[in-house]
Symmetry: D4
Subunit: 225 residues, 8 copies
């Protein structure tokens, strides 16, 4: 990193060269940062990069939006976005098992959309209601990638993994109680899945799944050239 | 327990009054017992009771069978049986997710059969192949009880729990490796299931599931009288 | 699921065909849902089904009750009920080990009652006071099913499992502190129980136990016809 | 420790002053030690002390017995003893839940006997057969201390803790499989017990329980003088 | 239990015969109970028994004290006591490792005192300052029983276990952070202790330790008669 | 599944329609299957499908190879292959942290090759030797997908995740000892990674990673058409 | 400890001889102590010792600063200091992986500075951005000791352990969510590290790391004399 | 790494530049490597470096010693050494709690000696025998560094941490059974220690502790120049 890559804001040293160097969009983790800090980081990233700038897990956005023009806030996804990427032809289906899994699914969908993917949300398709899942088979099979969001026992990942041949990114969620162990059970279960070749990201990490899908979309693009 | 209920064999005190008192058949846990000890216990139970006498998890049966006439050995289920109960009209489907789950499924089926239930075995219906599971829907729905045997992520319990309205007894198995944690993941996942009202027994306990089904069959009988 | 089975409320897609398809009553999980959402879901279910409609874990009911007439609220069980089922002859005893286990026991009892079972509550029968448990033997033995609610070490499940021959559904609770690990110890202990054929549901899940009992009651009914 | 307290055998430095200093008998942990090493340690302890000398968990004793005269070997308890203490009037009941718990119970009983306690063994009194446990009430209540040996869910500790007012020392065992987690479940369950004032030692540690009972016997003696 | 043993207060069925039957004093667990409920239970116990009546973990006592005369409240131990037992000659030393362990130590000391034991409190003797521990050797060795209260790594139990020959009851506490795992580490460490014959009670359970000591005191008394 | 999709071999029901239905190649899990069973399954799959047929985790291959002509065995990968797919232009780099991770890396590489991917193996690039990792930067950045195989602390996944923008599939391995917890630590660490959008498969599952890469390769193909 | 070493403040017995006896500076753990208690302890320590007196994890300092003159408060490190040690030539680099790890890094840096070490803070050098880490190589290699502060997967410890030959003290932090298990994953991962000879302290314990560095600085001093 | 730094042996790529680059001696982990592989690696390292070459955890050494002259084998430490470093003045005391901890202590001592440290071994000083530990105080306090090797509850680390002011490196061992959880309990306990500034390495890692001590010795050397 040359000196110009690092901008020191005092409370953090912002790496403004990552987009150019690695090719991933800039996403700031909002938890624990003050509005003033977020404003400062976002301004720096917008100035030194050309692509999208996102801030995740933002509970209160108005102060930041006022200070840095051009942004938009998705309350249900708790996401701030500046300069969203244009929609590509890479299609992602975000499938959520239950109503309680929606916040994570919405975060995944909003981030994936902001970085340019073509996203469809499919909800309430948990394995306890197989007919509802099977009714979505065609949509799932048409996707370039499926993000599966499921808590409790996380069985939806296995079921969809057996239905489609495209990449499946599973997100365990911390929904449920007791034996769900705040998402650890779903995470372990998704890894122990009987469906071949599904992959897993961290508990409640809609962000991780969206970024995994973005990485996938780049391969598809590169392969075509 | 009056004195006549307890028979002291030195290495164990056998409760010969349980069948009469509680109404459950006698099942001896074979692991860790010598052939001589098993012979001694089985003889005592046969003498003091009228119902079936079973010994589970028996690796080598010939010595016992020679010493106590009238028994039969099911090698795949590792089960010894004397005086099996006549078949009742109570139907149990034992559904196993994968090939590796069969030893536990066979134990459940053999014990349930020996205590008088009408058992059907359905195999290779894991959720990664939903079409195979759905092809068995009618058989599953016709059962009085379904025993679901599944390791790895244990998702089959949720799927079947959403298909049928009869009692579902789930048996997690220790198949798989890594994140399966030798059955603990499946056990937790089955408890965190999104399907309402399914119940769970111990890891690899085909015996536990068969006995749970036997208890269910008694209710059905009592209710009709 | 045909189109008419799914009613899309925006925040959730309600499956209004389950009662007809599977035969289980409709129970909505209240945690995390707003009064407005609950009202919307309940209205939809009442309109498309004929049976009971329940909402569990509701802390504040008045707004919903005002908006959807005909409901009743059980504060100690935190349960909302519309169109409760008529009482059948299927008897359930809910046995709670200690005073701290009562909220879970009351949830189990209220849901079981609302779906038509004939419920008796027996409290303060933990194994540290065996004489109190034994004083209830006759009531326990007369039941079609016993739901055992116990936290801490969960030993009551083993003790009752050895007293009765009917189905035993054990509910571990998160009562106690320290080594109880918020119910995980009781859950594991109930699975490791020395009593044959008892089954277990999720921690604190009075709902799960009641639904398991409902499934049992259906078998009894079917078997008699 | 003065120089004469420590005897250096090369592979270990033996503390020959503990008996005099602290007042506990000398017990050597046999696992992982060769017969030659055990002979050397035992000789040293016999020479420098006056009380009993014990070696636990010894699988093969003949070589040691030949080399150090005056010893005896209890095969079922895997215990070597020299100079056992005369029997005192302090009574201990060792209560074992199941047949599989007997090796641990026998170790506890043999060690307690060797250090001078008056031991009675009561077996097969698990809580799944309460009538058998209650049949032993009088013996349990007459004891100065009860050692409870139980694996699986370990419920016997709670049940006996509620029957007697004397000290109860619970020993979880690694019997059982699956959710028993090799004794960890029983250990946690015994700590979470609803019975007041019972105490717990390490998994499978018949030795620990016997030594705890010995400590108790000393209090009784001291209090009387 | 005859009818007169059980007093039904609606929210709980109070066992008023335990003192007579088993011989342990009555201790009510205050957590989760309202002042009105505590008043009701305490009145019932005072009326039907002769011995001490205690309520533990009470944050606010004035309402109860006003309603039930004759009680006293120890704020630091969060303990309510009526009819404390006269002091016996049975001596208990409560040794606390650090300042943060004092609340648990004070609970143990206050309960042990209320049930009649002769209690001394020794604080700040953690193993990281061995000279302070050794300075208390004589007091520790003179005790009939030592209760060791320690969190973090719980090493004090091993150290004291090696110093004294009387019974040692170890109480792990949830003090500390990170790797202490809220007391689980100390609990496991105390069980794995290299000191022979020490016993352990539940995390933060000053109550459990005091009751264990009370049980010990009864043995001493019985043995002398 | 129509009747012709399922071939019942007695010990297993083989799904011969999956290749056509879902599009994934057939991979049989060899652990626990006899040579005779493997022969039977492989023959059935070869007969009903056109694509590759693989058997993983095979310790001894000669009997199977003799019985089913046309196969080849890779001993270091423990893999049997019939009808390998022609090499596509989709490039995969398998990067292994240490020498001990090689068996899992070799399994991943061999399976990926057999299903048609263009695989390069890069070894000994653990993060404790960053210069070796950085020396491979160009190869890593040129890949369509990187499979990272690492045990112990699994840090290589984070490091590579920060270097490349293509999909990263991390495989935790059970190498190392103690705090590595047989791969669980690496699995958790990979999920908690600070690198955005990396995904994880089961412990030691070279198979899972290869199949995930295969799914990725299909997207690239589909996107180009 | 002679009588003069211990000062009894009622709520705690302060060891005022440790500095002289052992040679470590006095650091008081502030959590759970009232301002009045802190004032009392600090006064006692200042009076009986000559070196620095520190109080960690203090949220609100003004009351204490007013009562005990001469102190200073570092809000970001939550540290109170009296009589800081003069700066020695022993250099410590505190390297923090991410912005969220800064509070722990600042605590480590502030304490190390207060006890006389020459501290440099290096931030935002997580392994997902290796170029930023490598840009700091020279500073890291010039240090006498490196304290590595990292949460999530804790991989920075391995990377730095492979870059430098000086002592590395790793501090896992509880940053991150889900699979990070509040720091336990980072702690285990740091222990399983592939870098030789790195050592680890408790989760979030900037204090522990600073004191470990102080111990190191003493060796360097002693060795030179 | 220039090309000359890496020597590719087929089964591994040996980094022959580490000694020059980083300054740590070369230590090969022997587990899982064949004699032929070890010979090949050792020859390569001897040829390209000047310092010591070690191989740890070697069960059978004769074949390697024959093939590579100049080496020596320490059977109790399972260590092979070529070109041991001359003894420096940096003193290390390795203190082992019990006899069962000796293999790990011997590995630490042998490796530390081979890399040039001046090592003293102190055994059988567990905290259950404080007088034996205190008898070694002077030796412990004279050391430049103390390595503490302890299993079970690992309390020795806290005790020694409170006695000395030099660096303390704690090694948890997997000795003991049950609640010791194969070393995990000791590892956690050592981290939760009440002694300030002690550090911890992986379970059973005598190697890790020796290398940590070597890093410390380098600081001492550098500081003096």
């Amino acid at each position: 990193m040359t000196g110009s890559d690092a901008v020191d804001l005092g409370f953090a040293r912002v790496d403004v060269g990552r987009e150019a160097r690695q090719g991933l969009p800039e996403v700031v983790y909002g938890t624990g940062k003050t509005a003033v800090q977020i404003v400062s980081i976002v301004r720096t990233l917008l100035q030194h990069n050309d692509g999208p700038v996102l801030v995740t897990r933002v509970e209160s956005a108005s102060e930041v939006l006022d200070a840095v023009p051009g942004g938009s806030y998705d309350e249900s996804a708790r996401l701030l976005v500046w300069r969203p990427a244009p929609r590509s032809t890479f299609t992602v289906v975000v499938a959520a098992a239950g109503t309680a899994d929606q916040p994570v699914a919405l975060e995944a969908a909003a981030i994936a959309t902001a970085v340019g993917l073509d996203v469809t949300l499919v909800t309430d398709v948990g394995v306890a209601g197989l007919h509802r899942l099977l009714a979505e088979q065609d949509r799932l099979r048409a996707a370039d990638t499926v993000i599966v969001v499921a808590g409790m026992e996380g069985a939806l990942a296995s079921a969809i993994g057996g239905l489609v041949a495209c990449p499946v990114v599973a997100v365990p969620t911390s929904t449920g109680y007791g034996a769900g162990l705040e998402g650890v059970t779903a995470l372990l279960a998704m890894h122990a899945s009987c469906a071949a070749g599904i992959t897993v990201v961290n508990i409640d990490s809609g962000f991780g799944a969206a970024m995994a899908a973005f990485r996938l979309s780049r391969v598809a693009c590169r392969s075509t050239s």
